[in-house]
């Protein structure tokens, strides 16, 4: 594949890609740790997630700055323009995903103060699936693999179904014994956060399709109505 004749420009684009991947890696670790903090009942892990979120926030600012510089100084076109505008969009999703990991970590700290409320298989599965969705969206971003991006978009339905099952199970626990309400509510929040995390992974995947093909696949139903 040909590279840019301007090697400094080529290096700046590569640096932007590397920054986003590094940030994605930090977010993957954050969500995985925050859920581990619940399943292993270890609040120190949750505190660490909160601390490390600062680095994710710093990277958002760095990526924004890099995009602005590239737009102003390089006047990018075609696939470069789509890559940079995609970077500007997905960096916001990644930062928000980091915040969601912090939200889960805060629920973990609250939950760990009281005895455990039954096994956490489904929450662990939901977390694994959400993290995998992000991992695959990032893979698709690096390789420009539209098929993988589309699989991430479709995978969100499975995640939503598991969230709904967990929601109903927790509701059942609340109805069984009112002493479960506080803990079950915290777990419900954690589950909702993970479901939302998955939605952001879908956003990433949609932007990858735009980046590669130049077609916007977001909100197809809204567009039909707009006619």
């Amino acid at each position: 594949m040909p590279t840019h004749t301007d090697k400094a420009y080529e290096a700046e684009l590569k640096d932007l890609r590397d920054k986003l991947l590094e940030m994605g890696g930090l977010v993957e670790r954050a969500i995985s740790s925050s859920v581990r903090s619940i399943t292993e009942r270890d609040s120190a892990i949750a505190e660490d997630v909160k601390e490390r979120d600062r680095e994710i926030n710093r990277m958002e600012v760095a990526v924004d700055g890099a995009c602005r510089r590239l737009l102003a100084l390089r006047q990018p076109a075609a696939s470069d323009l789509r890559f940079i505008t995609t970077a500007l969009k997905i960096v916001t999703d990644l930062e928000r995903m980091g915040d969601i990991a912090v939200n889960v970590a805060e629920r973990a700290i609250d939950l760990n103060k009281a005895p455990a409320l039954g096994p956490m298989h489904d929450l662990s599965r939901l977390a694994e699936m959400s993290e995998r969705q992000l991992g695959r969206a990032l893979d698709a971003f690096v390789t420009g693999n539209v098929t993988e991006a589309e699989e991430v978009m479709h995978g969100d339905d499975v995640l939503d179904a598991l969230y709904l099952k967990l929601f109903n199970d927790l509701l059942g626990m609340m109805m069984e014994d009112s002493r479960n309400i506080r803990r079950a509510t915290s777990l419900m929040f954690a589950a909702k956060y993970l479901e939302r995390f998955g939605d952001h992974a879908t956003n990433l995947a949609e932007m990858v399709v735009y980046m590669v093909r130049g077609t916007d696949v977001r909100h197809p139903k809204s567009r039909e109505t707009a006619g």
Partner: protein, 57 residues
């Protein structure tokens, strides 16, 4: 009276800014022609893509 103005240029900023339609020629071949926005955001031809992104020229 209506006019059509043809500008031949190597200046990418001018090519992107001024015309409604852009045609890309490479060593005498017409590679691609289309709305300027399309040529500079989602060109159909790889040679156009490589040229407007600065991979040769």
């Amino acid at each position: 009276m209506r006019y059509t103005i043809v500008i031949v240029t190597h200046n990418m900023q001018q090519a992107a800014r001024d015309p409604d339609q852009t045609a890309f020629f490479d060593t005498g071949d017409l590679v691609e022609v289309g709305p300027t926005e399309q040529i500079f955001t989602t060109p159909r031809e790889q040679r156009t893509e490589d040229y407007v992104t600065g991979k040769f020229g």
